[in-house]
């Protein structure tokens, strides 16, 4: 299972980097989304993928019993997803606003215009 997930992380990262190197800002953003998913899966994989008992502490105990699943990576990923979702939503709106203001999605052309203005 870990091996499959590790390969998946690699594929997603590679595809994300490929998209990041495009000139269109929208594609760059899609690249970021792919990499962010790759990173989430990376955390899940790094935390260990295994079936286990629910991570609940039984009455009278102070620690988890043996064989319980590890809830921490999922908590981390949940937080990272929420934050990433907010940031990506903001970035999408920003790219849209840039498009309406500058009339282009092309990062190079936008940068050239900056040069003219300066």
């Amino acid at each position: 299972m870990e091996t499959t997930l590790a390969i998946l992380v690699g594929i997603l990262t590679a595809a994300g980097i490929y998209l990041l190197l495009r000139r269109s800002m929208l594609r760059m953003l899609f690249g970021l989304i792919l990499i962010s998913n790759a990173v989430n899966i990376l955390i899940l994989t790094a935390g260990g993928v295994r079936r286990g008992a629910p991570p609940l502490v039984e009455a009278g105990n102070v620690a988890l019993g043996a064989g319980a699943a590890n809830p921490l990576p999922q908590a981390l990923i949940l937080t990272a997803i929420v934050i990433g979702f907010g940031l990506i939503a903001f970035a999408l709106v920003l790219v849209y606003r840039t498009y309406t203001a500058l009339g282009t999605m092309d990062a190079d052309i936008a940068a050239e215009k900056r040069g003219e203005a300066a």
Partner: protein, 509 residues
């Protein structure tokens, strides 16, 4: 006792919520804005004095015991940084009252400002890496919105670079966190400091260290990852770029220093050697960029980059004296750089431009402004008896002691070039006669900015920060002693680990 550590986060949070609830009452928002910033300064002084007297404080949020829960830690380094956040936070808050336009005030400048401050203070207090990530993101998202607020074309251009690069840096950070968790099973900084030396995979640890260099390096704007900074920092209003210039990159430097003194000290020959190269290239490219620019805030933005190089140099040399210099430099730099941006705003208020070629004659008409500019400018260039002189002196002495002569030579040359580009600003903006028609300009200003009362709000913080620079320069001992203690603490992470985990838990392992 240690409950006080939650306050630097709660105070800006409460201010943010209160200003959000009073969305329509801009006047009340202004009052709360100043009150909140003052309260943060008081809290940071309180924490600094407590840490100075009683050593490292730590607070377990929700009473979860240390490696398991969220921990807030304030050692002297965090406390010093928090104090500077309180000081510049208040100075820029006062400045923004006089300079932020009505539109931005109406659309939530004040809540965003305090969200940003909350993120910065949280990052300085975070005791585990994931928490640090979360505070970074809070800081980032509020900086994104502050950067594009106002929706001008130039702002949108700078912002798209800034946002995409910073998102990428967050992803690198998160990937490094994931890998580190997989390797050690812990994310608490103190716990990691105990566990990492026992991990038998030096290659993987170094790889993770390099991921952290990329992640924090983008935030700190080191070579070659800095280009987003000069592209974006000159676009928002002055109050916003001043607080960005003062605090945001320094959070990156803080994180670098924290991680590379506490966690990755096993293979210093490789990691710190790389940091040394990066530091030198950062200094040189930054100052050359500044020499090529002719826009007030762009020159200053490139200077941020080159000065970051000095701080990283202090970390890379990794001796007590060098770390002392790095800490001293950070404090000095935050005060001075914020101040220079604020001065650029006052010059803009008079002549309605940031272009050095169209500026001029300020020395003749506004001599007091020229003097206020010269204090931080000369300090930045490192002339005695100002704060920058001591900061550079310590770093250079540390370089000599470590026999890094090339680094010392480069640092000195960069200091000269810094002086050159400060002279350029001086010549263009203050010394040469004004070429444009003054009557036309003053008309523009009467319509855009209301009264001389707003000017008092803008000048007061500049005077305050210039006073701080002078005070550090003329009486450097207190800060030097504090920085010395910080350097001692950074080089002996055992004290940090003991304070967070308790001496018993170290013995258990």
């Amino acid at each position: 006792m240690a409950d006080v550590l939650i306050l630097p986060i709660l105070v800006p949070l409460a201010t943010m919520v209160a200003t959000l609830l009073l969305w329509r009452a801009v006047w009340v928002q202004r009052v709360l804005h100043i009150l909140g910033a003052s309260a943060l300064l008081v809290v940071s002084i309180l924490i600094a004095s407590m840490v100075w007297e009683g050593g490292i404080l730590h607070f377990n949020v929700g009473s979860w015991r240390s490696p398991f829960g969220i921990t807030l830690v304030a050692d002297l380094f965090s406390a010093v940084m928090l104090f500077i956040v309180g000081l510049t936070g208040l100075a820029v808050a006062i400045y923004s009252i006089g300079s932020i336009d009505d539109e931005r005030e109406k659309y939530g400048f004040y809540p965003l400002y305090h969200a940003l401050i909350m993120g910065v203070s949280g990052a300085f207090l975070a005791g585990d890496l994931f928490n640090l990530y979360v505070w970074f993101e809070i800081m980032l998202i509020s900086s994104f919105v502050l950067l594009v607020q106002g929706n001008e074309k130039e702002q949108l251009r700078g912002a798209s670079t800034y946002v995409i690069i910073n998102l990428l840096s967050s992803l690198c950070f998160l990937a490094a966190i994931g890998l580190l968790y997989g390797l050690t099973g812990s994310l608490n900084l103190a716990d990691l400091a105990v566990r990492l030396p026992g991990v038998d995979a030096p290659g993987v640890v170094t790889t993770i260290a390099m991921l952290f260099v990329i992640a924090f390096g983008i935030k700190a704007a080191i070579f070659p990852l800095y280009f987003w900074l000069p592209a974006s920092y000159h676009t928002p209003p002055v109050a916003v770029s001043a607080i960005f210039a003062g605090l945001l990159t320094k959070v990156g430097v803080y994180a670098l220093i924290r991680v590379f003194t506490l966690l990755f000290t096993q293979d210093t020959g490789y990691t710190h050697g790389l940091l040394l190269g990066i530091a030198l290239l950062t200094m040189v490219t930054g100052v050359l960029g500044a020499a090529a620019q002719y826009e007030f805030r762009k020159v200053l933005s490139f200077h941020i980059v080159s000065q970051i190089g000095y701080m990283v140099l202090g970390l890379a040399l990794f001796t007590p004296l060098a770390l002392l210099g790095a800490v001293f430099y950070i404090v000095h730099h935050i005060v001075v750089k914020t101040n220079l941006f604020l001065v650029s705003g006052i010059a803009h208020r008079y002549l309605d431009t940031f272009e050095l070629t169209s500026l001029g004659g300020l020395y003749r008409s506004k001599a007091w402004l020229a003097i206020l500019f010269s204090i931080p400018a000369l300090s930045l260039a490192g002339l005695p008896p100002l704060s920058g002189f001591w900061a550079k002196l310590v770093i250079i002495r540390a370089g000599l002691e470590a026999e890094a002569y090339i680094a010392v030579a480069i640092a000195l040359a960069v200091g000269l070039l810094t002086l050159y580009s400060m002279t350029k600003i001086w010549n263009e903006a203050f010394w040469k006669p004004l070429t444009r028609d003054v009557a036309e300009i003053s008309e523009v200003n009467v319509s855009s900015i209301a009264s001389t009362r707003s000017l008092i709000w803008m000048v007061a913080p500049v005077v305050l920060l210039a006073g701080v620079t002078l005070a550090i320069g003329l009486y450097a001992e207190p800060l030097a002693v504090a920085a010395d203690r910080v350097a001692g603490e950074l080089l002996l992470p055992e004290a940090y680990v003991d304070a967070v985990l308790g001496p018993a838990s170290v013995a258990e392992r």
